[in-house]
Amino acid sequence: MSFITEVEVDVTVDILPSWALDPVLSVEHVFMRFGGLVAVNDLSFTAGRGDITALIGPNGAGKTTVFNCITGFYKPTQGMLLLKHGSGDSYLLERMTDFRISAKARVARTFQNIRLFSGMTVLENLLVAQHNPLMLASGMTILGVLGLPGYKRAEKVAIERAKYWLDKTGLYSRADDPAGDLPYGAQRRLEIARAMCTGPELLCLDEPAAGLNPRESAELNALLLDIRGTEKTSILLIEHDMSVVMEISDHVVVLEYGTKISDGTPSAVRNDPRVIAAYLGVDDEEVEKVEEQLDEIIAESTP
C-alpha cells in the first residue's frame, strides 16, 4: 500500500501547475448563495503571483460575484479567500470589509460599468486613489489645514505618481479635464490607472475590454502586459473578448452556473470540450459526440 501513495505523491508534484506553486490568491471552496440561488458553487482556484489569470464563462456564470467576494463587496456564504503578499504577509479576505481589502490587502479593482468620479478631473481621480497615504501625510487633516510643508511634499509625490500612470495610459494631455468628458476607451484606461495608483498587489479587472475597438483592445493588452512586467502586479480579469484572454493570460479559469468547469493554460482550456459546449452550445447531431467525449473525460478523471 505504501508504494501506491508514493507514486501518487510523485504524480501530483509532477503535474502541479506553475500558478499553484506561489499563489497570490487562493480561492478555496467558496459558495455564494442569494436566497435560493447559488451564484457560486464550491469554487476553488489559485491565481499565481505575477500571472495574468483570466476568469471566463457565459453571462450569468457568477464571475462578477466572485470578484465581489474577493473585493469584499459581498461576504461569501462559505469558503476561504487567502491573499498572500510577496513579503509573506497573508490576509483572509472573507473576514475583511471592502475598503480594508483595498487599503490593507492591496487588492484593487475596476468595475463592469465604469465607476469614475465623473465630476472630478482625471488628475483628481488619481489623487483620490492615493487617499490613505495622503491622509497620513496630512496628519489626518489637522496638519494639512494648518498648511505645514510635509503635506505639500507628499502631494507632490502623489502627483508624480499620477503623472507616471497618466503617461502609461496615454491620458497626460487630458489630466485637467473632467473624467466624465473622456471617451469610453479612455475612461476604461483611467479606471485601470486609478486602481494602479493604490499600489495594488493584485489587480482585478471586470471586463476591461468591453466596448473597446480593436485598436484600443490591442493597447489594453500592451498596458496589461506592461503592468505585469514592470510593476510586477498580478492581474485577475473577467473577460468576454477571447482575443484578449488567449493573447495575454497565463492561466484561465472557466465558470458555468457558478461551478468551475475548466482550469488550465489558455491552449488547454480552448480545447476543453466542456468549455466549447458551455460557450457555443452544441448542435443536435453533435450532442452525442460531446457526450461521448465528456464520458471519456469523466472516465479518465475518476479511475
Binding site: T71, F73, D98, F99, R100, S102, A103, A108, R109, F111, R115, L116, F117, S118, G119, M120, T121, L123, E124, L127, V128, A129, Q130, H131, N132, L134, M135, S138, T141, G144, V145, G147, Y151, E155, I159, K163, A175, D176, D177, P178, G180, D181, R194, A195, T198
Partner: protein, 463 residues
C-alpha cells in the same frame, strides 16, 4: 398646453393662447375661488361666518389669465430664441468679462463686507445704521455661515441633511445654558459649543450614515424634530417653550463690556454717546470673521485628501470603497464638521438675541438652509453666499413694505407675505436654474490649466 407648441416661426398662435389662458383661468377659479373668495372669520360668538371677496378672486384670476397668455405668446418664445442663441459659444469679450468678474468678485465683495458698517454709519449715523447692520448684515451673515457649514455636508459630501438646525440649536442652548448658569465667557463657550455640536453630529451620524439618499434625509429630519421636541418638553433644563432669556452679551475679548451698567462699558471707556450700535457693529465683525473662518477651513479642506474624499463620495461611494477609503469615517467627519460650524453659529445666535426658544429651531429653518445651499449651487462658496443674500436679504426687504398698509388696510401684515414670496422664489429659482446659481465645479488641483467643470457632470450624491 405645452410650451414648445407655441414656439413656431410664424409667431405665436393667438387663438390657442387665448384658449389656454381661459383654461388657466378656470383652474385658478377652482383653486382660488373658495379659498380666497369665501373667507371664514369668527364672529362675536365664536362662530365661523363666511365673508365673500369675489372682487379679489376676479383680480387673481385675471392676473393668472394674463400671465398665462403672456407666457405662451411672449415669454416662452423669447426664452426659446435666447436658448438657441446661447448654444453658440460666448464671445471672447464676454469670456474675458466673466474671467475678470470671477477673479475680482470674491476679493471685491470681501472689501465691501469689511467696509459695510462704516458706509452705513457714514450715510445714516449710528442710530440709523442699527437696522442695516443688524437685520441685513448680521442676519444675512448668520445664514451665509450656516449655508457654508451645511455646504460641507450637502454640497461636498452629498449627504442630504434635513435636520441641520438641530446642531444650530445645540450650539445655541449650550451657550445659553452654560452662560446663564455658570457665567462662563462667550470666548470659552464658543469652541465648546462647536465641540458639543460636533459630538452630537457624530452621535446622530453614526447610526444613520449607513442609510442612503432620501432615507438619510428623512431620518435627519426626524432627529431635528426630536431635538426640538425635547427642548420643548424637557422643561427642567430648557424652560420649555418659554425659552431662556437674559443670556449674557459677548464682551470685547474680556476687555470691554457692552452691558450698559458695567464699569468697563465700551462707550463709557471711550467717552462716546451711549448707543447699541457699537455692540451691533462688533457683532457684525464677529459673525463676519466666523463666516470667513468657515470659508477658509472649507477651502483648505477641499484641497486636502479628506475634501477630495468627500467629493469622491458624492460622485460614487462604491468606487471610494474600492479605493480603500473608509466611507463611514469620511461621512462622519463631514457630518461632524458641518455640525461644528452650525454649533458656532448657534452660540453666536444665542448671544446676539439674548434669548433662545425652541421656536427658532423649527424644521422650516433647516429647509431654508438646505434651500440656500441648493439654490446657490452645491459645493460653491460664492453661490451659497449669493443665495443667502438673495433669499434672506430679499425677504428682509419685504419687511420694509409696510407702506402697503396704506393700500391694503391696517390688517395687512407684510410679514405673512414674506414667507409666501420666499417659497415662490424657491420654486421659481429651481425652475430657472435647477443646479443653482453657480453650478460649475472648480477642480482642486491641476497640472497645466485650471478648467471649471460643467455642472451637468457633477453628481449630487445618493447618501
Amino acid at each position: 398646453m405645452t410650451s414648445d407648441a407655441t414656439v413656431t416661426k410664424h409667431g405665436p398662435d393667438i387663438p390657442a393662447a387665448v384658449k389656454d389662458a381661459v383654461l388657466a383661468g378656470v383652474i385658478a377659479l377652482g383653486i382660488f375661488g373658495p379659498l380666497v373668495g369665501l373667507k371664514t372669520e369668527q364672529n362675536m360668538s365664536n362662530e365661523l361666518v363666511i365673508t365673500t371677496r369675489w372682487g379679489l378672486v376676479a383680480v387673481i384670476v385675471g392676473i393668472v389669465m394674463a400671465g398665462r397668455f403672456l407666457l405662451t405668446t411672449f415669454i416662452w418664445p423669447t426664452i426659446a430664441v435666447r436658448k438657441q442663441r446661447d448654444k453658440a459659444p460666448p464671445s471672447a469679450g464676454r469670456l474675458a468679462f466673466l474671467a475678470s468678474f470671477k477673479k475680482w468678485f470674491p476679493s471685491g465683495s470681501l472689501v465691501f463686507l469689511f467696509l459695510y458698517p462704516a458706509i452705513v454709519v457714514y450715510l445714516l449715523g449710528f442710530q440709523g445704521s442699527l437696522k442695516w447692520v443688524d437685520n441685513f448684515g448680521i442676519q444675512i451673515l448668520i445664514y451665509v455661515m450656516l449655508g457654508w457649514g451645511l455646504n460641507i455636508v450637502v454640497g461636498l459630501a452629498g449627504l442630504l441633511d434635513l435636520g441641520y438646525v438641530a446642531f444650530y440649536a445645540v450650539g445655541a442652548y449650550s451657550y445659553a445654558l452654560l452662560a446663564t448658569h455658570f457665567g462662563l465667557s462667550f470666548w470659552l463657550l464658543l469652541p465648546m459649543a462647536g465641540i458639543l455640536a460636533a459630538l452630537w453630529g457624530i452621535m446622530l451620524g453614526f447610526p444613520v450614515l449607513r442609510l442612503r439618499g432620501d432615507y438619510l434625509a428623512i431620518v435627519t429630519l426626524a432627529f431635528g424634530e426630536i431635538i426640538r421636541l425635547v427642548l420643548i418638553n424637557f422643561r427642567e433644563l430648557t424652560n420649555g417653550s418659554a425659552g431662556i432669556s437674559s443670556i449674557p452679551k459677548i464682551t470685547f475679548f474680556g476687555i470691554w463690556s457692552f452691558d450698559v451698567s458695567a464699569p468697563n462699558n465700551f462707550a463709557k471707556v471711550w467717552g462716546l454717546a451711549m448707543s447699541s450700535a457699537y455692540y451691533k457693529i462688533f457683532l457684525y465683525y464677529l459673525i463676519l470673521l466666523l463666516a470667513l473662518l468657515t470659508a477658509f477651513v472649507t477651502l483648505r479642506l477641499r484641497k486636502l485628501p479628506i475634501g477630495r474624499a468627500w467629493e469622491a463620495l458624492r460622485e460614487d461611494e462604491i468606487a471610494c470603497r474600492s479605493l480603500g477609503i473608509n466611507t463611514t469615517n469620511t461621512k462622519l467627519t463631514a457630518f461632524a464638521l458641518g455640525a461644528m460650524f452650525g454649533g458656532f453659529a448657534g452660540s453666536f445666535f444665542a448671544a446676539r438675541q439674548g434669548f433662545v426658544s425652541p421656536e427658532s429651531f423649527v424644521f422650516m429653518e433647516s429647509a431654508v438652509i438646505v434651500a440656500i445651499v441648493v439654490l446657490g449651487g452645491m459645493g460653491s462658496m460664492i453661490g451659497v453666499a449669493l443665495a443667502a443674500v438673495a433669499m434672506i436679504g430679499g425677504t428682509e426687504l419685504l419687511r420694509e413694505l409696510s407702506f402697503l398698509k396704506a393700500v391694503f388696510g391696517d390688517n395687512f401684515d407684510p410679514d405673512q407675505f414674506r414667507m409666501l414670496f420666499f417659497g415662490l422664489a424657491m420654486v421659481l429659482i429651481m425652475i430657472w436654474r435647477p443646479r443653482g446659481f453657480v453650478s460649475a465645479r472648480e477642480p482642486t488641483v491641476f497640472l497645466t490649466e485650471r478648467k471649471a467643470i460643467s455642472g451637468s457632470l457633477v453628481k449630487e450624491g445618493h447618501g
